[in-house]
Each structure stands twice: as C-alpha cells, then as structure tokens.
C-alpha cells in the first residue's frame, strides 16, 4: 500500500516555473510526458513567490526562475541539487494598448507627465529588470507608476485591458492571444539587461531522477525547440 503510493507520487514531477514560461513549459512538459511517461505538474508564479514557497517547504522538484537572484536565494538555503543551468534568455519590451489615447512609443515616453505605467513589483524579476533599464536610460518613471503587479502576466492583462498606458514585460509575454491588442517596442540594446533563466532540480525532490530528467530535457535541443518557438533565446 505504502509502496504503491510512493510509486504513484514518484511518477509525477512538480515543476515551479516563472510565470513568463507558461506557454513554453506547457508545451515542453506535454512532450516530455509523452516521451518518458513521467507526469509533470506545473506551478507558475512570480519567481520571488515561488522561491518563498520552496523555502517554506512547498513540494517542488524543479525550480525554473526568471532571474539568477531568486535561484541564488533558493540555492543559498541549501535546497538546490547540483548546479543550476541557464536554459533560456529573454528580452524586455515596452507594451502599450492599441488605440490608447496616450501614445506611448518609446521608453522615454514613460517619464512624461500623466502617463500611467504598470510595472511588476520591484521584487519580481521583470520589475527589477525594467527599473534597471529605465535607470540606465536616466528616466524617472516611478512617479507615473500606478500599480506594482504581482507577476508579469498581471502586467500584460492590465495593459491589454487598456487600464494603463504602458507596461514593461518580456518579449515572450506578447503571445498570439494578446498581440492583437498591444503595440510592443524594444529597448535600446545598450540598456538591455542580461535576462537569464536558470533551472535546477531540488534537493528535497520526491523523485530526484524524474526531476533531473526534466531539467535535462529542457536544456536538450528538443526542449530548447519549445522555448525558441515561444520567442526565447537559447543561451
């Protein structure tokens, strides 16, 4: 009875992944399950939320973070098995609702009076990246920020609903679903932060082999294909 229960649990890998990975990981996990028979349960959220959950003992087998800071956070708590691997890179984009009366077309517009900007909270990776890029551009945008959202997807939602004039998200978040509602503008390469996604199996994994298999799959050419298809850059 007990053994059977363990086996059932062992055939499932719990993956805690940054919200920006949602579409890519859904597709990659489905293919991984088909290939290996190992079920994957995905839990998406802001990387800071996930790191806190993992440190509080949430049953995670794999952690895929949207920045090195939150991975280090988990590694410093002694919870990472082996060394985290960078499996993807991303870019920042400025997004604005189409048909918005306030025409935002470049990062400099964000600092203009009266422009309503929605960013992710400074503790969320994309929020930190966005602020770093704006600072490098010498722009003071904080006075125009009307909300600090809990994850990148919430920023996308608020902007695609037209509730604010602009937001900063990853280029991969401008998915086919929301693209028709949004204008997206790149950041100058000089201020573009190095956005690295590290992945690691976790020490307290229920199924260390399954967890490692999933990590290996994501860094393999096949796994990378799913990320590239969603606009991520291979490291």
């Amino acid at each position: 009875m007990n053994i059977a229960l363990v086996l059932v649990l062992a055939a499932t890998v719990n993956v805690f992944a940054a919200a920006s990975l949602t579409e890519a990981f859904n597709a990659a996990a489905a293919a991984f399950t088909q290939k290996t028979g190992i079920e994957v349960k995905l839990n998406y959220g802001g990387s800071d939320t996930l790191a806190t959950q993992i440190k509080q003992g949430a049953p995670a087998d794999v952690f895929a973070s949207a920045n090195l800071v939150q991975m280090k956070n988990v590694a410093d708590a002694g919870l990472v098995a082996g060394t985290p691997k960078t499996f993807a890179k991303n870019r920042l984009v400025l997004i604005a609702p189409k048909n918005d009366p306030v025409k935002v077309a470049s990062p400099a517009d964000l600092a203009k009076p009266g422009v309503k900007v929605v960013l992710a909270a400074a503790t969320v990776p994309v929020g930190a990246y966005a602020r770093a890029a704006l600072t490098k551009l010498g722009l003071h945008v904080e006075k125009n920020v009307v909300s600090n959202e809990l994850d990148v997807k919430a920023v996308v939602t608020k902007i695609s609903l037209g509730e604010a004039d602009a937001g900063i998200v990853y280029s991969t978040d401008v998915t086919a679903t929301v693209a028709p509602k949004l204008n997206a503008f790149p950041f100058p390469a000089a201020v573009e932060p190095d956005i690295e996604y590290p992945i690691a199996a976790l020490k307290n994994a229920q199924d260390t082999k399954g967890a490692q298999a999933f990590v290996d799959y994501i860094v393999s050419p096949e796994g990378q294909g799913f990320l590239k298809a969603r606009g991520f850059i291979s490291p």
Binding site: D48, A121, T123, S147, N148, L150, K158, E163
Partner: protein, 255 residues
C-alpha cells in the same frame, strides 16, 4: 464511545483553526514589533482604516434603505433581489474584481462615459473603496434586514399616532430597536472590508499609499522575503478580527 468520537472530530477542527493562528502570534518577536512601525506598514494601516471607514459609511447610507425595503416592502421579484444582495458573499473576490474592472475600468462598460467626465477609477483609492463595498456590504444588508424585520410594528404605529413623523419614528424608534443587528452587521461588514484582497488587487492594483491595503502589504512583504512585516501586520489583523467578533457577539447578546 460515540460521544468521544464527536468530541475528537470537533477538537480536530478547532485545533486546525486555532493552531495556525496561535503559531502566527507566537512568531511575534522584537523584529516584528519594530516592523509594525515601519513606514510601509504605517502607510498600509492608514490606508486600510481610511478606506474601510469610507466603505462602511457608504454601506450604511445606501444599505440601510435597501435592508428596510427588503424587510418591509412586498414587491414582485423581492426574493430575487434578496438573493442578488447576498451574491457577493459567495462570489470569489477575484471574480468580483474582474467584474468591477470590466464595468468601471477605462475600457469597461462605463469607462468611456466616466472618462468623458474626467474620471478614471482603476488604480485609485476610490477603486479600493468600491471593491470593499462590493464584497462587504452584503454582510451589513443581511444583518440589517433581519433586525428591521423583527422590530415590533405596533411600537412604530404608536409613535406615528403620537405625532412623530415617519422619519423621526425611523430614527428614534425603529433604529434603536434594531440597533444590535445593525451594529453587528456594520462590524462584520467593516471586518470583511478590512480583509479584502482579491477584488482590490484586480481592480485597484497595488501601490503604496494609494491602493496597498493591509492584506496586500502582508502579501507583498511575504513575497519579498520581508517576513517580520508580513507577520506583524497579520497579527494586527488577527487581533482586530478577534475584537470585531467579540463585539458582534456582545451586540447579538443584547438583542
């Protein structure tokens, strides 16, 4: 045997509710006590008290007539209105937030009209109050409806025959007689508004001093690893809730 089983089952649930709350309170140390006076905590405390008091005032002014009509008047569809009023109690707050956003947001149903008058609601303190009224007013209306229905109509009739007008009769006879229910409902309504999270973050967003109420501050501080502030604010909310529940009991007892 059966009695023991009943007692054990009851004790399990009681322990399940009490232990986590006690554990949270037990976490309180000098760090947490210092954290409660941090600027961000004080900002959230002030915003929460201000917005919930406004939400309560709005509910009292608009909710009392609604409760009165539901308690006294008989009209077609009364039962439907009755059920609609209770709806926000069972609707998930995130759904309430989305509904508010789609109606009062910039591109919502009333968005263009509001904009033409120079009003934007999303991401404002007004949006916080609206979210609070939406989710908390049913608690008051329910209680007030019950209290007003139980008032002895003969006393009101006596007051009217003695020459008191309908408004004065309502103010000096009906309200005092229903006071315990009205007070209990108002307290519950206020406490629910104080705890409101889902609809607020959806409709009002999250900005310190504007829309970051206590529950949002608890969540944000927890996320950013600032456990002392999150714990301190949580304990403060637990104590306020305890006081509210005690006062509600006291009000009910006097009924």
């Amino acid at each position: 045997m059966t009695r023991a089983a009943v007692a054990i089952l009851a004790a399990v649930l009681l322990a399940f509710i009490v232990i986590p709350l006690a554990g949270l309170v037990g976490h309180l140390g000098p760090n947490e006590l210092a954290a409660i006076t941090s600027p961000s905590a004080l900002l959230a405390l002030r915003l929460s008290f201000m917005t919930t008091l406004i939400a309560l005032a709005v509910t009292l002014v608009l909710g009392t007539p609604l409760a009165y009509i539901l308690a006294r008047a008989d009209f077609p569809g009364r039962k439907i209105v009755d059920a609609l009023v209770d709806l926000p109690i069972v609707i998930p707050p995130a759904v309430a937030g989305l509904a508010l956003l789609l109606v009062f947001g910039r591109n919502g149903t009333f968005g263009p009209f509001l904009r033409s008058m120079g009003i934007t609601l999303s991401f404002t303190t007004a949006a916080v109050v609206m979210a609070q009224v939406f989710v908390s007013s049913p608690f008051y209306v329910r209680a007030a409806r019950g209290g007003l229905a139980q008032v002895d109509r003969q006393l009101e009739a006596a007051s009217l025959t003695l020459g008191m007008g309908p408004l004065r009769t309502f103010a000096f006879v009906t309200i005092p007689l229903a006071a315990p229910s009205l007070l209990g409902g108002a307290l519950l309504c206020w406490a629910r508004a104080l705890g409101e999270f889902g609809a607020t973050i959806m409709f009002a967003g999250n900005l310190a001093g504007v829309s970051q109420t206590l529950p949002l501050a608890v969540y944000l501080n927890l996320e950013s690893g600032n456990l002392p502030v999150a714990t301190a604010l949580s304990v403060a909310l637990i104590f306020v809730s305890l006081i509210v529940i005690s006062l509600v009991r006291l009000a009910e007892h006097r009924r």
